[in-house]
């Protein structure tokens, strides 16, 4: 089933991919920034403060998406005893963590002028902070344990603990009274965000996803080179 995932074959692709991804990222980011900062209209209520959303929301989405992917990959790696899945997880984590921090910081910057406070201990914000702690734990676990088997098990356990927080983040604004507003974008019903603001948001999301892919490829290549240097041709 996983025969295709031999390091040499993967490396042929992943070693060439970064420059193309970088090019795409620069193009999409430029379009996204022009759309978000110049072409998109200001909001009727918060005026230009709305532009923070174009960084805040994609960053939060990507960090949630990456944590979910890490969990699925780690659990699959644990069940099927596949080392490659762990290496992919490990390489994905740093950009997820960075976007999590970006979401927290930009949220804080937006909160001061609109809500009137930098920080509130409401369910959405607190659960997002907890996600950042799980990311940190996950990344630290790869640093402190030398023994591979041990790292695989502990990092998988951390993702299992952390994944329970993900639906809590998503639904916190619906389940409880929170200062944070509920979701504006709904897949099943009509969105409460105007299309002239939705498109820049989606372009920025694509740009951030490409950035994550770029960092992932660079990290993953490093892992593959480490394996090559050990003289092993199979994972």
């Amino acid at each position: 089933m996983f025969k295709l995932l031999e390091p040499n074959k993967i490396f042929q692709i992943t070693s060439k991919a970064p420059k193309y991804v970088l090019f795409l990222f620069v193009v999409v980011l430029s379009v996204g920034l022009v759309e978000a900062l110049i072409l998109s209209p200001e909001d009727y209520k918060q005026s230009d403060a709305v532009r923070i959303m174009y960084v805040h929301v994609p960053a939060a989405w990507i960090s949630l998406g990456i944590f979910s992917s890490i969990t699925v990959l780690s659990i699959s790696g644990f069940i099927f005893k596949n080392k490659n899945f762990f290496l992919i997880s490990k390489s994905l984590a740093p950009s997820g963590f960075v976007f999590n921090i970006i979401a927290l910081v930009t949220g804080s910057i937006w909160g001061k002028p609109t809500w009137g406070t930098w920080w509130a201990w409401d369910a959405r914000i607190t659960s997002m902070l907890i996600l950042a702690l799980f990311y940190a734990l996950y990344l630290i676990s790869w640093r402190i344990y030398e023994n591979e088997e041990k790292v695989f098990k502990i990092s998988t356990f951390i993702t299992i603990l952390g994944i329970i927080n993900v639906p809590i983040i998503k639904y916190s604004v619906d389940w409880w009274n929170t200062l944070h507003q509920p979701a504006s974008i709904n897949i099943l019903s009509e969105s409460s965000i105007h299309s002239s603001m939705l498109y820049p948001l989606l372009i920025m999301t694509a740009a951030f996803a490409l950035f994550s892919l770029l960092i992932f490829l660079m990290k993953y290549n490093t892992e593959l080179i480490k394996i090559k240097n050990k003289g092993l041709d199979r994972l």
């Binding site: 644990f78 002028p113 609109t114 009137g116 369910a123 409880w176 507003q181 603001m197």
Partner: protein, 139 residues
């Protein structure tokens, strides 16, 4: 198709996940009071005893209820069922407006009177340009 060990590991992980979900659910359920960021005027109204602790009340600022003078702001928070009078001295956030969401932090003097020490504006999930808003209001 897969070996016995793979199945065992799958069951092991699933069980851990189920137990954890159940635990977290029960913990959150019992801590619900602390998880909510604010209470609505109706919830305040149905309190059996009043505390002197700092609490937060949230809802809509009632239309035509804001009155400001040089050193304090008075307004009414409503959830369209119950109301609570709030008095506050200090600067209010930019988005503090009649008909919009607000969260007041402070001390409850009695069921109808709240002395706020901090006012936060709650933003809703609607994002649109001013022209669209104007068009909506015309209709």
């Amino acid at each position: 198709m897969y070996g016995r060990k793979v199945k065992l590991r799958f069951i092991f992980v699933s069980t851990i996940l189920l137990i954890l979900i159940l635990t977290v659910f029960l913990v959150l359920k019992s801590l619900e009071e602390n998880v909510v960021y604010f209470q609505s005027p109706s919830e305040i109204n149905s309190l059996t005893e009043l505390t002197n602790n700092k609490i937060r009340v949230g809802g809509m600022v009632k239309e035509n209820s804001i009155s400001m003078n040089s050193n304090e702001v008075n307004f009414i928070i409503t959830d369209f069922k119950n109301e609570i009078n709030v008095t506050y001295s200090g600067a209010v956030p930019n988005l503090f407006e009649e008909g919009k969401g607000v969260v007041a932090e402070g001390i409850l003097k009695d069921r109808n009177f709240f002395l706020a020490t901090k006012i936060l504006a709650k933003h809703d999930e609607n994002y649109m340009p001013p022209e669209v808003k104007a068009a909506l209001e015309e209709n």
